[in-house]
């Protein structure tokens, strides 16, 4: 399946959902438009554009112009691991505190994505955690989450 046809299909579904949900708000009248009108118009526009995109892509495909596969030649596992690390950081920031969570996050990425030597991993992670604590927490007073150890 061509990637543009898949994306136009997904956008059509999203547009349809937006349209249907907009109906739960008041669409109003032409003189006094309601809260639902603008999102409804956006959803309708998304549906129409999706249909246009699907047609355009289908016509192009008939002329043998197709896109390349989405993940061909790419190490998508690295993106997935990075995303996993980000989600873990999001959930660990509060219970562990910003500094420890940062240390673990940076260590994981440095060791797993393009593996660095352990001294580099520990050194960079320690330095990052310490400097970001000093910069954001102490200097800029950003009020980042503190763990059971007070940092």
């Amino acid at each position: 399946m061509n990637r543009d046809r898949v994306s136009s299909g997904l956008f059509f579904l999203l547009g349809l959902l937006v349209c249907l949900y907009s109906l739960t708000y008041d669409l109003g009248s032409p003189v006094a438009p309601g809260s639902g009108l603008m999102p409804f118009l956006c959803g309708a526009a998304m549906c129409l554009l999706a249909v246009a995109g699907f047609t355009y892509t289908t016509l192009r495909k008939q002329r043998r112009e197709t896109g390349s596969p989405l993940f061909k030649g790419r190490a998508w596992q690295k993106s997935a691991l990075t995303l996993g690390a980000l989600l873990a950081l999001q959930f660990l920031m509060k219970p562990l505190g910003f500094t420890l969570a940062t240390f673990l996050f940076v260590s994981f990425l440095l060791r797993v994505i393009v593996p660095q030597r352990w001294p580099v991993v520990i050194g960079v992670a320690l330095l990052t955690a310490a400097l970001s604590f000093l910069l954001f927490e102490v200097w800029l007073q950003a009020q980042l989450p503190r763990g059971p150890w007070g940092i």
């Binding site: 543009d4 032409p30 809260s35 440095l110």
Partner: protein
Amino acid sequence: MDILHNMGVGFQTALEPVNLLLCFIGVLTGTLVGVLPGIGPMAAMSLLLPTTFHITPVSAIIMLAGIYYGAMYGGSTTSILVNIPGEAASVVTCLDGYQMARQGRAGPALGIAAFASFIAGTLSTAGLMLVAPPLAQMALKFGSPEYFALIFLGLTTVTYLASGPLWKSLMMAALGLFLGCIGMDVAIGATRFAFGIVELFDGVGIVPVAMGLFGIAEVLLNVEQSMERTVLTSKVRNLLPTREDWAASLPAILRGSVLGFFLGVLPGAGPLISSFAGYAVEKRLSREPEKFGTGMIQGVAGPEAANNAATGGAFVPLLTLGIPPTAVMALLLGALIIFGVQPGPRLVAEHPQLFWGVIASMYVGNALLLVLNLPLIGMWIQILKVPYPILFPLILLFCVIGAYSLNNSITEVGIMILFGVIGYFLRKLEFEAAPLILALVLGPMLELNFRQSLAMGDGRLFFFFERPISATILAMALLLLVMPLIRGVRQRGSGSEEA
């Protein structure tokens, strides 16, 4: 006389020690993010925005503006030395800049890029100073239909200038407009599509969305490719261009400055389009167009001048009409609104210190950048040598801190990560994020003016065409929408004739 007096007020503000320091931090950060591929001014400004909540709006905007034009300077360094654009607007500088570096002329290429940026930045600031106040006066006569038409034109221009099929950029604009509907309805105060999430009651924040779409998505895409790069650093000397270099470059710099400024004013064009236009003009006017791409100094001077001039131009619609012409300006608009300052025709009169202070700081900032870019080139080269595998965890971490610091909320981090994933897939599927960001910011303004206009015109859509200014602007927007269709039909016609 008025301008002299106002500039006096502006310089008084810009030269206050704290503002001078923040201007320096802004241009330094801007140059840094410009030098580093993979993190642009959008992500950097989003990151630093929450840290400005403790300072005055003038100081905050001085720093954020410094990041923007500083990034234009820094981007050229990476283009010339690594053949990778440090910033999107420096793509075209790679063509001749990198060739000059390969021929051992990295010094003059970096030098002329810095001087071109300085001259164009200064000239465009002068243009902003002269054009903005009368335009703001004129804009006072605009009503809701004119504002609706202008915003609509802005969105149309962005979609028209975006690369790829028109349906994709329009889809991004439609999605952005829908996201702009989330949260409080500006007209009646009811919440929409918030699903009980408190953080969404005030709408989807531009900062987490921008950091997700531009910062996180960029990193996710970079980590799955080869992260190796070669830096040409062995022969960086003679940074001051020779008399011959100046003779070849000065007309290109002046042309690039004028072209860049006016393209920057246009909604949607911005530094990227300006740099390409600057390069195209130089190539067309050259007696040796075939030599472009082989290390012509005009091919560095013209586009570098154009992209810096465009940053000054981009402030004109933002400060006078309250309409951001680019995604970065949309972020700046968001920042101004957070600080309780409503950009628009009344800004010059109601906040003269901010308006003239920011303009004066741009003169100061451009001078600071010249100092940062020439004597400190060695430092930027050392930074370029930091391997990306060590750099990207820091970029991600800064994004997380930036999103969290907005409201001290983990949910904002979640929203940023979500938009990071969305941005990753959008880039994979060849959708551009810029129209989405612009539409997200302009959406509430567009909706409010649309609804007010309908109420004014008793529900008649034709009301927009009964007023000459809105009719003209809407006609231009519709023309932009129709042009790609006409071009497509023509191309198909000529294709079938050839077949």
